[in-house]
Point group: C2
C-alpha cells in the first residue's frame, strides 16, 4: 500500500510508514494546473497507489519542516496569486471602470460648465439666462461671436463688459476643453455598449447601457448580480431609503436606479412600484442568462412587460 | 430768486413759489452724466439761479406725481443700472474667475487621474505603484506602450490582464483628455500672471500669481483687499481655525493661504507666525499701492523681508 500527496510544488509518493519514496517537483505553475497527468504517471509506476487519507495528513506534512522547501513554496505561491489576479481582470472590470468614468465625466463637466457660465457672463450675461441646456451653451460660446449672439437672441443693451480679445480667448479655451470632455463622454458610452453587447447582451437590451452598467456596479459585477434575488435588484441604488425605512419605519422604497428606466418612467406614479418589480424580475433573469451564457431572450421579456403594463 | 433741481431724467427750473418755469429733459444717459453742462447753461439764462434747498425738496417732488414721468424714470433707471453693472466688470472679475477655474481644474484633474490609475491598473498595475507623480503617470501612459513600460520599470511577471487594443484605446482617450486639462491649467496660469502684471504688479511680485489671486478671491477683489487690515490678510484662508479659536479657545491660527508662500515655507516652524505677520504687512501695502496706482515697490519689500528672516 502506497500513498501519494500532491501539493503546490510537487507530488510525493510515500510508503505505508509515510517515508518518502519519490518526489516529483513542479517547475512551472502549469505543472501544478495539470497535476492529474503527473498523478496518472505515478499510478502506473506504483500499482495500488492511493491518495493520502486525511487522518495521516498531519504526520505527512512534517516532511515539509525542512527549510529547503520554504523558498519554493513562497515563489510558487506568489506565482499562483499573480495568476489569480491576472485572471480576475475580466470584462466586468472594464465595464465598471467605464461606467464609473462616465459618471465622473458628468460631474466634471457640470462643474466646469458652471464656471464657464459665470465667466462668460462677464462678457454677455444674457446668454446664460436664455440658454439653459449646458451642452448647447458651450456650443454657442464656441461657434458664435458676441455680436452674432446678441443678434440671434435679440439682446438689447447688453449688461456685459467689453473684454479684450485676449481675455475672451481664455474663456474659449475652457469652452473647447469642456466640449472635448462631452465628446469623450459620448465615445465612452458607445464603447460601453460595445463591451456590454458581447458580455451581457440580455442586460444591455432590457436595461440599456447606463442602467445596466450601474446595476453591475452596485451589485459588484455580473456574477454577483446574477446571484442576487430580484427583490434586491429592484432596490439597488435605494440603499439610503431602504435603511431609513428599516430604522425609522418610514415608507419602503419601490425602486432604486430602475426609476430612470423608461418603462417605469412611462407609467403613472401609482403603478411604478409594480412595474419596477416586474422589471427587476426580468432583469434578474437577464443577468443569469448572461452570466451562464444562455440564449438571447431580453427582447421577449421587454415585449412581455410592455404588453402587461400598457 | 430761482431754484433748479437736477434728477435722473432732467433738470427743472422753478420760481420762488416752486412753479416750474423750464424743464430740460435728458434723452440719453450721457446727458445725465454731464449734467454740470446743462446746469451751467441754465445758470447763464437765469441769473441768480441756485440749487433747490433741501427743506423745499418734498414740495418740489410733488411735481413728479404726474404719471407721464413714470415710464421715463423707469427706463432711465434701468439704463443707469445696466451701465453700473457693465462698469463693474473689471480685471478683478477676470482674475477671480481665472483663479477659481485653476482651482477647479486641479480638482477635476485629480478626480480623473484617480480613475485613470485604477483603470490602467487592470492592464499594468505595477506602474501606478512606481510612479506617484500624477502628471508624469499620464505622460508615461500616453507616450509608451505596455511593453516599453515593463522594460523601463523592470516589471517581472506583471499582474495585469491582457487587454484588447480596443480596450486600451479607450483608456488612452481618457489619458489624453487629462493631459489637455493639464495644459489648459498651465495656460491659464500664464494668463493669470499676465493680467495681474498689469493690474496689481506689486501683489504679483511679492505673493506670486497663485497666492496673490487667492488673496483677492478671499478678500473679494483688490479694492476690498486694499482696505483690509494686515492682520486680516494674515489670516485669510484660516477662517475655520479662527472661528474654532474664538468659539472653543483653541490656539489661534498664525497663517491662512500665506502658509504656502515660500518665505514662510523656508523658515523653521517656530518663526513661521512671525514671518507670516511681516509678509501680511507688506502684502497689505502692496494691495494699497496697486489699488491706488502707486509705484512698484514689491521687490524692495521682498528683499527687506528676506534680510530680516534669513
Amino acid at each position: 500500500m502506497k500513498y501519494y500527496f500532491t501539493h503546490i510544488i510537487g507530488t510525493i509518493v510515500m510508503d505505508q510508514s509515510l517515508r518518502v519514496i519519490e518526489e516529483v517537483k513542479f517547475t512551472k505553475l502549469d505543472d501544478y494546473f495539470s497535476k492529474a497527468q503527473t498523478e496518472a504517471k505515478l499510478k502506473k509506476k506504483y500499482p495500488g497507489l492511493i491518495p493520502l487519507p486525511e487522518d495521516k495528513l498531519p504526520r505527512a506534512l512534517e516532511h515539509f519542516k525542512d527549510k529547503n522547501y520554504f523558498s519554493d513554496f513562497y515563489s510558487q505561491n506568489v506565482a499562483l496569486t499573480r495568476a489569480g489576479i491576472r485572471a480576475s481582470v475580466s470584462k466586468d472590470g472594464l465595464i465598471l471602470q467605464t461606467i464609473g468614468n462616465i459618471e465622473e465625466l458628468d460631474k466634471v463637466c457640470n462643474l466646469l460648465v458652471k464656471r464657464l457660465r459665470e465667466w462668460y457672463s462677464l462678457y454677455l450675461p444674457e446668454l446664460s439666462f436664455r440658454m439653459s441646456s449646458h451642452d448647447k451653451f458651450v456650443e454657442l460660446v464656441l461657434k458664435k461671436t458676441r455680436a452674432e449672439l446678441i443678434k440671434e437672441f435679440r439682446v438689447v443693451d447688453s449688461m456685459g463688459g467689453e473684454l479684450k480679445e485676449r481675455d475672451v480667448q481664455e474663456i474659449l479655451l475652457l469652452a473647447s476643453q469642456i466640449n472635448n470632455l462631452y465628446q469623450l463622454r459620448k465615445k465612452q458610452e458607445t464603447y460601453l455598449e460595445l463591451v456590454m453587447k458581447e458580455y451581457c447582451p440580455n442586460l444591455l437590451e432590457l436595461a440599456g447601457a447606463n442602467i445596466g452598467a450601474k446595476l453591475m456596479e452596485l451589485g459588484r459585477g455580473l456574477k454577483a448580480l446574477a446571484l442576487l434575488p430580484a427583490s434586491t435588484i429592484q432596490l439597488l441604488g435605494a440603499e439610503k431609503a431602504l435603511f431609513r425605512h428599516l430604522k425609522t419605519g418610514s415608507r419602503s422604497p419601490k425602486y432604486g436606479v430602475l426609476y430612470q428606466h423608461q418603462l417605469v418612467q412611462k407609467v403613472k406614479a401609482s403603478v411604478r412600484g409594480k412595474v419596477a418589480r416586474g422589471l427587476a424580475d426580468k432583469l434578474s433573469l437577464c443577468a443569469r442568462l448572461d452570466y451562464f451564457k444562455g440564449e438571447f431572450k431580453a427582447r421577449e421579456f421587454r415585449e412581455e412587460l410592455e404588453r402587461k403594463f400598457k
